[in-house]
């Protein structure tokens, strides 16, 4: 680890504090997106796919479906 002219610690010319800053921001991005990803991934699963995977896992091959979206759009259109 060396110190740049700015006085900030750096490794191979990379400012360590900036790396830590972006790591923290990325962690927060994951924190805010994780529940949304769970909801979105689940919305594309078949009932079997939902039962056999965790909510945040992407739908397995062959278990990907848009049935729930179709049902919802038909249900929403009723009465319009």
């Amino acid at each position: 680890m060396s110190t740049e002219a700015t006085g900030r610690p750096s490794i191979a010319g990379v400012d360590v504090s900036r790396v830590a800053l972006y790591a923290a921001l990325l962690a927060m991005v994951l924190f805010y997106l994780a529940p949304l990803e769970s909801g979105l991934a689940t919305a594309f699963k078949t009932p079997d796919g939902f039962r056999t995977t965790t909510p945040f896992a992407l739908p397995p091959l062959g278990e990907f479906t848009v049935d729930a979206w179709e049902r919802r759009s038909i249900g929403s259109a009723r009465g319009l």
């Binding site: 800053l21 921001l25 994780a34 529940p35 769970s38 909801g39 965790t54 909510p55 945040f56």
Partner: protein, 348 residues
């Protein structure tokens, strides 16, 4: 460019002053004399003395604007404040069941009953804990994220949008998402703990009375800390760069710079964000209702859920109204002082 908003207060203030003084009073000249216009002279000459209150009423901007604020004002008075007043009267009756309320004998019996009801004590305590913990945690995370974002980073707009995204969801959607997140077997929270080798910390977050309220606070913090971030970021951007530079020249470390110089200047941001958070916390009914139904248990019961349970599940309207009045008083206790302070500062 001169903005209309900056000119408007000056114009309104002078107009109000002239309204208060009335047009009958002559303006004073800088040389000590009085300016008397021709209209006043002729009125005096003819001896016609129109009563000052009538003249003021005719020229009053308040009356002129009556058709605009009158009808909506009446609607608000009737449907908002009238409903609150009626709710208070109902809380003084003993109304239960499907019949009509009787207003013959009004008493504070329901409030006395509240004071001796253990479920009310639990709900009141939980509501206070929720208010304080949720508000403090959301403000702290929001401030931290705002400070991180204020470091001239790349993709700031994208990151900011992602942080603010949960705010756009309804409590119902958030509750469903977090019921999956907290699932003891397949939920992400326990999965992450297991993958970090902290399997001993995994819990049944939503069924263990010890962790229920904390789990709710954490989920609500997820939803609203983005809002605090936006408020704080606006506050941070309003602080002149010179103050950062002056503190740096004085040798202040980053931590000291924020703690001693920057954060104290964010008081107004903190106040406005805190008021909004408290109001949302008081309205967290949907969130708890989706997760637990009408019976969240003593460890997670809050006043709004108790009010619904008592009124619409047990059909005890008067008792439910009394709970609602306590909830209303709590909201007023937070918003009232805030509005008063804003009014005193002339920002209302």
């Amino acid at each position: 460019m001169s903005s209309p908003s900056s000119a408007a207060p000056h114009r309104d203030a002078s107009d109000d002053a002239s309204d208060e003084q009335g047009k009958t009073e002559p303006a004073t000249r800088t040389d000590g004399g009085a300016v008397v216009d021709s209209a006043d002279e002729s009125a005096a000459a003819t001896g016609r003395s129109e009563t000052s209150w009538l003249a003021r009423a005719r020229q009053s901007r308040l009356l002129e604007s009556l058709p605009f604020w009158g009808p909506p004002g009446l609607l608000v008075v009737f449907f908002v404040y009238g409903a609150i007043a009626w709710n208070f009267v109902i809380s003084l009756t003993g109304w239960e069941g499907l019949g009509a309320p009787s207003y013959d004998s009004l008493s504070t019996e329901m409030y006395t009953r509240l004071l001796s009801d253990p479920s009310f004590h639990a709900a009141f305590r939980n509501t206070l804990v929720l208010l304080i913990a949720f508000t403090v945690l959301s403000l702290a995370v929001g401030l931290l994220v705002a400070i991180l974002l204020d470091q001239q980073i790349r993709f700031e707009n994208t990151v900011r949008t992602i942080y603010l995204l949960p705010m756009s969801l309804s409590f119902v959607v958030t509750a469903i998402f977090w019921s999956w997140m907290y699932n003891p077997r397949i939920g992400l929270v326990n999965e992450v703990l297991r993958s970090l080798g902290l399997g001993g910390l995994t819990q049944a977050w939503l069924s263990d009375p010890q962790f229920k309220l904390a789990a709710i606070v954490f989920a609500l913090m997820w939803q609203f800390s983005g809002y605090c971030m936006v408020v704080y970021l606006a506050g941070l951007r309003a602080i002149p760069n010179a103050q950062y530079e002056a503190a740096r020249i004085d040798g202040a470390s980053t931590l000291r710079l924020y703690w001693r110089v920057i954060v104290p200047q964010l008081r107004a941001s903190t106040m406005s964000a805190a008021v909004v958070l408290v109001v949302f916390a008081l309205k967290a009914f949907d969130f708890l209702f989706v997760l637990f139904g009408v019976n969240p248990g003593a460890s997670a019961d809050i006043l709004s859920v108790m009010m619904y349970r008592v009124a619409f599940d047990r059909i005890q309207w008067a008792y439910g109204s009394a709970v609602a009045m306590v909830l209303f008083a709590m909201a007023l206790g937070v918003i009232g002082p805030y509005l008063f302070v804003q009014y005193r500062r002339g920002e209302l």
